[in-house]
């Protein structure tokens, strides 16, 4: 540990010497410094706004999580806000209901995230495999779910899933299948499908964009060598979009662990399965806006962010190892 820091310090030392040399030394090196500064200045407008509109609220929320609000008597006297340190975090870490919901969302993510990734990648490869004119048309169609507002998507799928009026029901009857999308046992499938339907278009767009930077000449070379299209896709295109694949994968993990809208929707149709504490985001929402404990909700949000961060880091490592 200490040796690592030593090395770091040594490097830093060298770096500062270099800077000093640049400042006092030849004009060419100091021009490099100005160039670096100018380079950094490209990011300043963004980070100024980012600090104001993201970091400041995060810090405010962090502050919130360190306090506790308590009433007394009948509760009418107004509540007392007291500093309570990490009490809210301790309570969150020991909150069985919260971790149960985390486990639920986690197991869901384990199934749905890879599935979404595979389907999205397949789509991106398919779109990449046709001529550009055709691709344009399909890309547009595949983005339709992405463009349909969430509140309307909800209406659409409730109709399609409906065991009474849904169009699949007669098909199921014909095949003598007893499938009810609203039943407790099917709820994950229904939610998963809704989720995948809504997200593959976006993922496809990102992956497809990445695919287009693959040098086209590689394909020709491969074709000349007699490689099949499938082979080309798997061994040339896929490795090329690995970064984007990791990116969309991480986004998918973040999205699924924070899943909220879909289960809330299905809470109405299957309340005995989807309780108010079904997913971590639902626990947080319930604490903040129903129970009215903003302090605890803030602490839970931070724990959730931590778990999502760790999960993302682990997956990132893992995919990197597999890739190399």
């Amino acid at each position: 540990m200490s040796s690592v820091t030593d090395v770091r310090e040594h490097e830093l030392d060298l770096a500062s010497k270099r800077v000093r040399r640049e400042r006092s030394g030849s004009p060419r090196l100091s021009w490099r410094t100005v160039q670096r500064l100018k380079g950094a200045s490209f990011t300043w407008p963004f980070f100024a706004g980012f600090a104001l509109f993201t970091l400041v609220p995060v810090v405010m929320a962090l502050g919130q999580s360190l306090f506790t609000t308590k009433s007394s008597g009948l509760g009418f006297g107004g509540a007392q806000v007291t500093f309570s340190g990490f009490d809210n975090f301790a309570r969150g870490l020991a909150d069985g209901v919260f971790w149960e919901s985390m486990l639920r969302a986690g197991s869901y993510a384990v199934v749905v995230v890879p599935l979404t990734q595979i389907v999205s990648l397949m789509l991106a490869l398919l779109v990449d495999a046709v001529t550009r004119r055709v691709a344009g048309r399909f890309r547009l169609s595949l983005l339709v779910p992405y463009m349909i507002p969430g509140i309307v998507a909800t209406m659409i799928w409730i109709y399609l899933y409906s065991p009474t009026v849904g169009p699949f029901q007669s098909l199921f009857e014909l095949l003598h299948l007893d499938i009810n999308f609203f039943a407790g046992s099917m709820i994950w499938v229904s939610i998963g499908n809704l989720h995948i339907w809504g997200t593959i278009g976006f993922n496809m767009l990102i992956l497809n964009g990445a695919l287009q930077s693959v040098p086209r000449e590689l394909f020709d070379a491969a074709r000349v060598d007699g490689a099949s299209e499938l082979r080309i896709a798997l061994s040339i295109k896929v490795p090329f979009v690995r970064t984007s694949l990791v990116l969309t994968g991480l986004l998918a993990i973040i999205g699924t662990l924070q899943i909220f809208a879909e289960p809330v929707l299905f809470r109405s149709v299957s309340p005995e399965t989807i309780t108010k504490d079904f997913t971590p985001a639902m626990v947080i929402y319930n604490q903040a806006f129903q129970v009215g404990n903003l302090n605890y909700a803030a602490a839970l949000s931070i724990i959730l962010a931590g778990v999502v961060g760790i999960a993302s880091a682990v997956i990132y490592r893992f995919t990197n190892k597999v890739g190399s």
Binding site: S71, L74, I158, S162, V165, P271, K276
Partner: protein, 442 residues
């Protein structure tokens, strides 16, 4: 300390307001604008679009109070934004359409004591409306009134089975058993909506929350509550109910329309929706009073008002009360709420007698009866509305838990009694964590 100051402030404000009110009632029309003091401007928050028309009419009718209506996107938006504005304490409205039970508003530090303003005008309101605006003997809410429940029954379906519309809950179960062989259900119990349980508990005169000195007495296991739970237990155990969700509207309406459902407890404002979305059963329906419990006389019609409140931080409660009196009880204010879409006036639930308003809201094709007869059923229900049902200091917290437990009970995973036990335990935990004093009744 702080609340003491606030009360003193409210008192002084009350005195001046009383003077102002009496002053205006004598000479509003003739008084010129040059009175000392500009008109008071207040913000009123709500999510009902019709309210805007009432506000305009009010602003036209007098020049002492000017109301600005802030329309929220919906009930949920109202809750979120109201919580936020009370947090920032900037531009707090003087009147907020009710979205939470009174005790909850009070615990959150939202509602002002407006007894001094409501007391003088008590006689304008119905008993149900008044009881829902009070906590103990103080008014913390505007007597907004609640839409009373009555029932519509499919007379064709009942006739086919040779039964009458049930008058009691016990009869309803019998009716259900008589209908069962033909696959017809007597009532729909949506898994996400436990409000029917509250209805019956209210009718049975259960008291889930009661103030005893300086603590709350919580009781979800009284004989009254269990009587209500037992009705549902029998219905579910015998498979007499359907479980259509309100989310799947096409399915819901087509089921109601199919003749396979015999009764539907409802409120007046649901009727146009039923007519719009029914096809085959139009003209088959009949409005009847909501069933009562056997043996208990004068139980009344269920209906729980969420009273509008005058938020803490509003400096001119008198102006708010003045507006609300106009909106809820003045014939001109009520007339101003006529909607363009239907051409009808909303039933003014705050009034003692609404019989002159009910006939007009009855859709013409739905019923086997004349609109007049249906109107009478609605007006009678409204006259008997119970209004009050104390839901305690943490309703927002326990209601989702009740939903969960109710959903499980309807799905036959647990009994209704067990569901109530679980909710009671949850309430105890929640009050404890909030530092609110309580005891569970013996």
């Amino acid at each position: 300390m702080r609340s003491g100051n606030r009360r003193a402030l409210a008192l002084t404000a009350g005195l001046t307001a009383a003077a102002l009110l009496s002053g205006c009632s004598t000479g509003t029309a003739t008084e010129p604008q040059g009175k000392p003091g500009e008109p008071v401007t207040i913000d009123v928050w709500g999510w009902d679009p019709v309210q805007k028309q009432v506000v305009d009419a009010f602003n036209m009718s007098q020049d002492q109070v000017k109301v600005k209506y802030v329309q929220q996107a919906d009930n949920v938006a109202m809750q979120t934004n109201f919580r936020n504005v009370m947090e920032s304490k900037k531009d707090v409205p003087c009147l907020a359409q009710g979205f939470a039970p009174l005790a909850t508003s009070l615990v959150n530090g939202w509602a002002q004591d407006i007894t001094a303003y409501v007391k003088p005008i008590e006689d304008k309101f119905g008993a149900g409306a008044l009881s829902a605006a009070k906590l103990g003997d103080k008014y913390y809410g505007i007597p907004t009134g609640a839409s009373a429940k009555f029932m519509v029954v499919n007379s064709k379906t009942l006739k086919a089975a040779g039964v009458e519309a049930p008058k009691t809950w016990e009869e309803l179960i019998k009716t259900g058993k008589a209908l069962a062989p033909s696959g017809t259900k007597v009532i729909n119990l949506a898994g996400e909506d436990p409000s029917v349980l509250l209805d019956l508990a209210q009718q049975a005169k259960a008291e889930w929350f009661k103030i005893d000195g300086d603590k709350w007495v919580v009781n979800l296991h009284s004989p009254e509550t269990l009587k209500a739970a037992d009705v549902f237990q029998q219905i579910v155990d015998n498979g007499l109910n359907s479980t259509q969700t309100y989310k799947d509207r096409p399915a819901l309406y087509s089921y109601f329309d199919s003749g396979k459902l015999a009764t539907l407890p409802t409120q007046w404002w649901s009727l146009p929706g039923l007519q719009t979305n029914f096809k085959t059963s139009l003209g088959d329906w009949q409005a009847v009073p909501i069933p009562q419990f056997e043996g208990g006389a004068g139980q009344g019609a269920p209906g729980r008002a969420t009273a509008s409140i005058v938020p803490v931080g509003c400096k001119t409660p008198d102006a708010a009360v003045k507006f609300v009196t106009f909106a809820l009880t003045d014939p001109k204010g009520i007339e101003a709420s006529r909607t363009k879409d239907t051409g009808t006036v909303a039933v003014p639930a705050a009034l003692k007698d609404v019989s002159q308003y009910t006939e007009a809201v009855v859709p013409t094709k739905l019923f086997a009866q004349s609109p007049k007869e249906v109107g009478k059923v609605i007006a009678d229900a409204q006259a008997n509305v119970i209004g009050g049902f104390e839901q305690g200091p943490d309703y927002d917290s326990w209601f989702p838990q009740l939903q969960d437990q109710w959903g499980k009970a309807v799905a036959k995973q647990i009994t209704f009694k067990q569901a109530l036990v679980n909710v009671e335990a949850y309430i105890a935990d929640d009050l404890k964590s909030k530092g609110i004093a309580y005891t569970i009744a013996k």
